[in-house]
């Protein structure tokens, strides 16, 4: 009898090309996603060495980090941004790579369009020069971020040098209480694991709570695995996964046959993980980050913690620095924190279900007069679907800006930025210092929490929201 294997074991074994003596194993990479910010130097490296892209048809590119989210017919104002996007276009042309360009109806955030187009599939190995590549693990793939040198390596060889990571099972029992979302779940998990608790591991999320999540919610969970230090997060494929993928552009022609193969992927009964952490979903309330890393998080019904009383000296000094940067004091109720900006978007929370959740809160209300709020759909498809449902009109009537698809103010490489001192409720994934603009202050929340905060001008507990 072969010994029981985890989902990670199975994908790893399937993709192991060789383990030469004295070298790290080479694993095969099924899909390589490319964007404008981390690829130019890799293509240049290929050119200098006279190398080609081994499998252009397994490589997909889109500009997302740097792109303007305003009118796409206008020229890009920032000449350096324009050069980076032009460089991606030229590289894709030279190396024969499929590009979803700015004027393509399917352009969008790389981690939104991968699953949406069916490029991401169960059992695959997927890499991209971006740490939020973990998102694709929601479909039962092993997906992780790599550096630009590794991007060049994958372009040239379709393989990667990798030591096998350890497996961490994060089991979530029960089902999420009303008003608590996948974003709250993953922020809570990060708060419990800490920002480095997952280092060296691939997280497999399991349990009744995870199984009950829809596909897009699963993506939100896997997306933020890196914020707990784990390079990848994954969820075993099931009927939710197969129903999501059926009929999408790049899925196998004989879909049902593929499903039969994918059904073999979930971890075998009795398979052992290197570590197991168990959480109860009943313990989780809507989450709000108060500090400058995603593990500095509390429930919306709590206060900013007393950082001076933290026992770990490193946590304490981080906490003190964070509060100073954030302009907050220990003991302030989260719901008393006033806001200047609200951002709904990013590879964490810019899919149609996220926008529906935000729209449901906003319906019948208007953005507080002190707040500048914007919604940035994750892709051209998400935008069209939202417009088809009339969500754009609802947001605009409520005082939100409705933008074109891109990463936007998640990392503020384009003109969408916070000014120094501005405080933002954001559905993105990082609250690092300066992440959304130098001196800007970011609080990470779910789309529903962000929408409610936009209406009230400060954080509110969305569990008590009067929906209209």
């Amino acid at each position: 009898m072969p010994s029981p294997r985890t989902l990670l074991d199975k994908i790893w074994d399937n993709h192991l090309i060789c383990s030469p003596t004295g070298e790290n194993p080479l694993i095969y990479i099924d899909r390589h996603l490319v964007h404008e910010v981390t690829s130019a130097q890799a293509f240049e490296g290929l050119r200098l060495a006279g190398r080609r892209v081994r499998r252009p048809e397994a490589t997909f590119a889109t500009p997302d980090h740097n792109v303007p989210t305003t009118d796409r017919r206008l020229p890009i104002a920032d000449p350096i941004s324009k050069q980076q996007i032009d460089t991606l276009r030229n590289n894709c042309k030279e190396f024969d790579i499929r590009l979803f360009d700015l004027d393509d109806a399917d352009q969008g955030i790389v981690h939104v369009i991968g699953p949406e187009l069916g490029i991401t599939q169960p059992g695959m190995t997927i890499v991209c020069g971006d740490s939020h590549t973990a998102t694709h693990g929601a479909l039962g793939a092993l997906a992780f971020g790599i550096g630009t040198s590794e991007v060049e390596h994958v372009l040239a060889t379709q393989a990667l040098r990798q030591s096998k990571p350890k497996a961490l099972e994060v089991r979530v029992q029960g089902s999420l209480p009303n008003g608590v979302t996948a974003k709250d779940l993953v922020l809570y998990i990060i708060g419990q694991l800490t920002t480095e608790g997952g280092s060296g591991y691939v997280i497999e999320y399991t349990g009744e709570c995870i199984r009950s999540l829809g596909m897009e919610q699963r993506m939100t969970v896997c997306n933020m695995s890196i914020e707990a230090g784990a390079r990848a997060g994954m969820i075993a494929p099931d009927a939710v996964t197969f129903d999501y993928l059926r009929g999408r552009d790049f899925v196998p022609r004989d879909f049902e046959k593929a499903v039969q193969e994918w059904q073999k992927l979930p971890s075998d009964e009795g398979a052992t993980y290197d570590r197991v952490e168990v959480f109860e979903s009943a313990d989780i309330v809507p989450q709000v980050t108060w500090g400058t890393n995603p593990a500095q998080v509390v429930g919306v019904d709590a206060a900013v913690p007393n950082v001076g009383a933290m026992s770990d000296p490193s946590e304490r000094s981080s906490g003190v620095k964070a509060l100073e940067y954030m302009g907050l004091s220990s003991g302030t109720q989260i719901t008393d924190i006033p806001l200047d900006r609200v951002f709904i978007g990013s590879c964490t929370n810019s899919r149609i279900e996220d926008l529906r959740a935000a729209a449901a809160v906003v319906r019948g209300y208007h953005v507080s007069r002190d707040i500048h709020a914007m919604v940035v759909p994750g892709s051209g498809r998400v935008k069209r679907q939202a417009e088809h449902e009339g969500l754009d009109k609802l947001f605009v009537a409520a005082g939100f800006e409705w933008r074109e698809a891109g990463c936007s103010m998640c990392l503020a490489m384009n003109p969408d930025t916070l000014s120094a001192g501005q405080r933002c409720a954001s559905t993105s994934n990082r609250n690092f210092e300066g992440r959304q603009g130098q001196g800007g202050r970011t609080h990470l929340v779910s789309p529903a929490m962000a929408a409610a905060a936009a209406v009230e001008g400060h954080f509110v507990d969305v569990r008590k929201w009067q929906y209209q």
């Binding site: 130097q41 740490s131 920002t195 230090g229 790049f250 022609r253 981080s318 990392l411």
Partner: protein, 207 residues
């Protein structure tokens, strides 16, 4: 790739944990399409005041950190984004080694691609190094220097501090010999092709 065998240099002590790659190289500098020239932007938002002059209180701007090539920091150094611009900026500024109790996974890998040696030490050893650096700053010598021997995997100062450290053997060999990882992997092209053949590739469905 530049090889790394032995190195001696001045230590810059950065008493912070969770230093993320957004701090190491803020995103406003990620639009360049070259690998070089990022050193001038290293830790930009911490290093410079709003008028563009160096902040004298920032660790790298202090006299004892002048000419530093070894960076000492706390837990989870390099967390966040996968941007290789972070090690590019560190290398371009002159750093050859970063010492911390723990590193974020992607940053750790990216260092090896750029001839930077990341050294993991026990938390108490890192604490001792911070104290030694602090003591040197207070004394006449001002600067604290460390020596690294990657052949022996040892780290030592000119006095009594000495520790050994661990590096994955393959990564160590790549650094010692300055190996080009892609060339090395291309030697396995036959195995890559065999894998593809066994898995019925290439056969990507086009949309």
């Amino acid at each position: 790739m530049q090889s790394f065998t032995k190195h001696s240099g001045v230590v810059a002590a950065m008493d912070r944990s969770n230093v993320d790659t957004d701090q190491i190289i803020p995103k406003q500098f990620l639009k360049r399409i070259e690998r070089t020239g990022f050193g001038q932007f290293l830790f930009n938002d911490w290093r410079f005041l709003s008028d563009g002059t160096p902040d004298p209180s920032f660790e790298l701007n202090r006299p004892e950190a002048e000419g530093a090539t070894i960076l000492l920091a706390r837990r989870n150094f390099g967390c966040g984004s996968s941007r290789e611009h972070a090690p590019w900026a560190l290398a371009d500024y002159g750093f050859r080694c970063v010492i911390a109790p723990t590193f974020a996974d992607i940053f750790y890998s990216n260092c090896f691609s750029n001839s930077i040696l990341p050294i993991r030490l026990l938390e108490e050893d890192v604490e001792q190094l911070f104290e030694l650096a602090k003591a040197a700053t207070a004394s006449n010598t001002g600067k604290y220097e460390l020596n690294i021997d990657l052949n022996e995997c040892t780290l030592f100062d000119d006095d009594s501090f000495q520790r050994s450290f661990e590096v994955e053997p393959f990564r160590r060999r790549c650094l010692l010999e300055g190996l080009d990882n892609i060339s090395l992997s291309l030697k396995h092209t036959d195995e890559i092709s065999a894998w593809e053949k066994a898995h019925g590739l290439p056969s990507v469905v086009s949309g």
